[in-house]
Symmetry: D2
Subunit: 357 residues, 4 copies
Amino acid sequence: MSHNSFGHLFRVTTWGESHGPSIGGVIDGCPPGLALTEADIQPFLDRRRPGQSRFTTQRQEPDAVRILSGTYEGLTTGTPISLMIENTDQRSRDYGNIADRYRPGHADVTYDLKYGLRDPRGGGRSSARETAVRVAAGAVARRVMGPQVRVRGALVQIGPHAIDPVRWDWDQVGQNPFFCPDADMVPVWESYLDQVRKSGSSTGAIISLEADGVPAGLGAPIYAKLDAELASALMGINAVKAVEIGAGFAAAALSGEENADPMRMQDGRIAFQSNHAGGILGGISTGQPIIARFAVKPTSSILTAVASVTRDGEAVDVATKGRHDPCVGIRAVPVGEAMLACVLADHLLRHRGQTGR
Amino acid sequence: MSHNSFGHLFRVTTWGESHGPSIGGVIDGCPPGLALTEADIQPFLDRRRPGQSRFTTQRQEPDAVRILSGTYEGLTTGTPISLMIENTDQRSRDYGNIADRYRPGHADVTYDLKYGLRDPRGGGRSSARETAVRVAAGAVARRVMGPQVRVRGALVQIGPHAIDPVRWDWDQVGQNPFFCPDADMVPVWESYLDQVRKSGSSTGAIISLEADGVPAGLGAPIYAKLDAELASALMGINAVKAVEIGAGFAAAALSGEENADPMRMQDGRIAFQSNHAGGILGGISTGQPIIARFAVKPTSSILTAVASVTRDGEAVDVATKGRHDPCVGIRAVPVGEAMLACVLADHLLRHRGQTGR
Amino acid sequence: MSHNSFGHLFRVTTWGESHGPSIGGVIDGCPPGLALTEADIQPFLDRRRPGQSRFTTQRQEPDAVRILSGTYEGLTTGTPISLMIENTDQRSRDYGNIADRYRPGHADVTYDLKYGLRDPRGGGRSSARETAVRVAAGAVARRVMGPQVRVRGALVQIGPHAIDPVRWDWDQVGQNPFFCPDADMVPVWESYLDQVRKSGSSTGAIISLEADGVPAGLGAPIYAKLDAELASALMGINAVKAVEIGAGFAAAALSGEENADPMRMQDGRIAFQSNHAGGILGGISTGQPIIARFAVKPTSSILTAVASVTRDGEAVDVATKGRHDPCVGIRAVPVGEAMLACVLADHLLRHRGQTGR
Amino acid sequence: MSHNSFGHLFRVTTWGESHGPSIGGVIDGCPPGLALTEADIQPFLDRRRPGQSRFTTQRQEPDAVRILSGTYEGLTTGTPISLMIENTDQRSRDYGNIADRYRPGHADVTYDLKYGLRDPRGGGRSSARETAVRVAAGAVARRVMGPQVRVRGALVQIGPHAIDPVRWDWDQVGQNPFFCPDADMVPVWESYLDQVRKSGSSTGAIISLEADGVPAGLGAPIYAKLDAELASALMGINAVKAVEIGAGFAAAALSGEENADPMRMQDGRIAFQSNHAGGILGGISTGQPIIARFAVKPTSSILTAVASVTRDGEAVDVATKGRHDPCVGIRAVPVGEAMLACVLADHLLRHRGQTGR
């Protein structure tokens, strides 16, 4: 059992705090013989990197990843892949004033309640900075699955403003700072976030993920369900409060007839005529696209003072200065993609051991 | 790694198919010295048992649990607790016609896609019957946590009909066949489900869970987050498609100010003045009530014929006869409670090893 | 993490006490489509069954195994295989007098030190009776590996009397009550054990195991080494105090030249001209026969009184009456075979996930 | 499941190859609040460091450890501890000639058989260099156990020359380059190893480990036995072929009377009047010193040519030039101590979760 690892046959263990010398992770179980260099990982880190628009934290770092082990002459060897990213921009002073007072909505208080002490610099281990390592691991996971599997994500709601699915265009996602698939929504979000940012407030968001080309049969029927492990992986991302697969909560209001996904054969394989199941039945992939959505709460760091307490139990009102994302949901898009990719890679490897095929 | 177990220090492994001689499970890691007999488990099984109202399957069995190991003179010994429940009512004939044709929305097709064969009798391993063992394990988990922790659940929506939270009354939950906390909603659901049942259709539902008295500090900040593992446990229940903690998806539309849970000291401990976090911050329990909700899709077994295929790939339209729950969400209430109890018990034991306290 | 399971992809969890209603286990991870009925398991249980000669305990039970789940129409389905064996001969009275006094060399004292209580009847969970479930699991593991892999064991030393390797004949193993491969040693052991038994004493033994036809490449180089996991599996058998692979302890006295196993190609694959390595290099199987040996201490149950203490800390001298094996090493042979078979089956399944092949 | 980790609640994952930029590991599960800096780890690495006498490899590196995460102001925080050691002396040229030919007795061949490729530089992942990380982890494990637990080891046999236990003096261990507790044996080993080294040969060895002050009750009775996990940890050290606990193989020749460890009360706790059990009964610690021994095979790198094959299957005779330890057993002493310390720390943390105490 590990509290800082996920996955089983494709197993990722991360380490590092926001303001330590570096952060990193170890990927154990990557099969041998896959082409892998830093150049295969860096582009995904760049998508998540802060400071790329006025809508994300102004923390500036290259987030350059180094592979310290597990490859030889550009190929994976089957041994652990150690990844490391230097922390180059650590303005501890921004955070010094929160060592003794709990920021409402942050993990400061629960860390102290659990461990009795913590590294307060930049939120220490609980900083979203750790997600950079997840993104790097996701890039390796994509290699494991191969090119026939495509994992992508998009932001579909910021605050009260949801996109119109009818206008969904994946090509738009790379064209704006929000990973937004609906071109008409971009200006709405821009003005909304400008106002949120200026007022020192923050807002929540909803991300949608999709994986195409996933082979049928991945997962397990009872406790290692593909959807259950995906729910864990997504709920485990900082600030996530909700996860749904396929029709999700909306399925509660449907009748059996409305929810059913009819099947017919097509090109020699089973094709479903709808996908309320989100590509997963009984915890096992159907071969249809896997669809998941998750919600991110508003950033807890806001300029408005909120009632709180100090480590010594004195009442205090806390406003969080310093750099932060007004909407952490934006940068959660590449993180969500990475978690989905890792869960799929793990189950792809497990499937062989489960079935002997 | 196991595909039929969950939990780490409080570890539950289940086995059995719907129409085999029996189903059961092994609980590994229950601490020694706890009072435990069948009488402590049976009441929870009785709450889940089918055939108690016209709104659940008419399958009739006592679901009498036997403890085969792990206790001596009424106390747990720290050795594995083996639980077994006989299958007494197995009308295979009801299901014989579905061995070669896939029921839309069922795991029939994915089982075959993964394993190449399956036990078709009553859905075999994928039958909700397996959840009886989870409920039994949950009863043991409650013993591990002790009386100060109270885990309870309620049904809050059936089809389009949601309760009014203002009328929430926990005392009502035991007074109707729906685990409904809103007395005024009971007749609405009765007439709605009667119509659903008569038309051979089915409907989805939403369940809400709450745990009071949970000590602060349970969980872990990165990958063994209490909310992540709870999401996995609930998403792993048959037919569940969505899970949320605290404010859940609604948090996406909130501002940081609206979402913040102010803190003040009260009776020497930190008290939050609201609970959008659902009792969990940074993956660790805050000491507030833990709140989770999950959605159950409509039962896939309906009398309306839906397009499907046979094992041989021939087009066929399938209508599912035989006994079934028009709304599996009802019996999901005690199952959800049990999963929450097991996750908490596991983390309670893990907490000691994590912190040395 | 589990304290009553072993293996990862081929995972065995056992439960039950010596004098409970039954003992059993759950095998999770057996691939689908393998022919398996009780008749495939029973012969191995029969080899281990007590009461077959005057040299083993006179406890009399059929040890009839039942498969409660995981197969359909004689084939495994990929779901958990639940195995159960009834306890039919439970002479608790034989053991009643040891509830409050610790038998020297038994786990009575450490159970109480750890758990604070225990089931004293027949040693409860610590009874060698639990090994019956291991033997049953081993029979399933043999199915997983298929007929090309042959796992067998022999007893090579009882007390001071070791066999002569020169006279080793596998065909003899089934011809005597000792699993002895050296016909000339059988009468020596008979008279030695008769004397040991008559004097109410006991003796230790050494078992040798061999697996032929094991594919090269099973295992892992660092912490999941095939030899490390085999050492754990064998050391975990009741009363085992030592394990060695290949040349074992003797390798300490060898020079590099003496210990080297020369390689040449033969029939298109690498053949080693000796096997000091015992078929494992760097934790990975070489394709040569896997050779392991383990030592079993003398049965602790003897008629000679030994200084001990009661639960209350009073000095007392304890002599253990009741039925027991004068040499538990004899029945450890089929148990050792089973553990080796399970470790190999687990690594065979893991290999696919590790290498993607 | 991980192939490069060990332990459960005190979990160590290592990474790195002999000639990569660095090696390292992640310790997950170290409790918070323990004083820990590099200065607490370095002395143990120095004991293992090569090049300290003419009897170990002349590879020269400082093996300076860096803590990259998991501590704040000199205290552990409960988050993962990332340790890194630079590789500063990498004479790949020494090894270039073995990329295509298998060194007999090395893992070269099994790596290729398993993974199809490998990093040949200095043995890559299979190099004993990886054990430096184990030693660093062991230093942290000692912190977890606290000062009342003392873990130490000694070399008791080199080639055919075994020490005389009667002359055992722990104070001598630090006084000679062999960790030898028998002063009279030191000159014998010196002249023997000089001759072995000059002839380009190598020799095996036996190491003895002892842990004092270990609390009673650590371990588990069936599959997570303290002795079984210790056997796995020691057998997993490079070149180890045998492990024994307490009387070990010698127990096979003993009678029950000879093997029994009598018990009496002493200072309010149970004291054993002998320790054939090696401090472990039924897989659980008794409170007596834990005693284990393990055997290391002769270094496979010798100047004498041995029959082998190339990757292409051509017959070739291979002699291994380059720097190597004539007796790897010497540097296995601190490694063995570290593995014992890690196993104990893991079980100390697990014990709390197992028993609720």
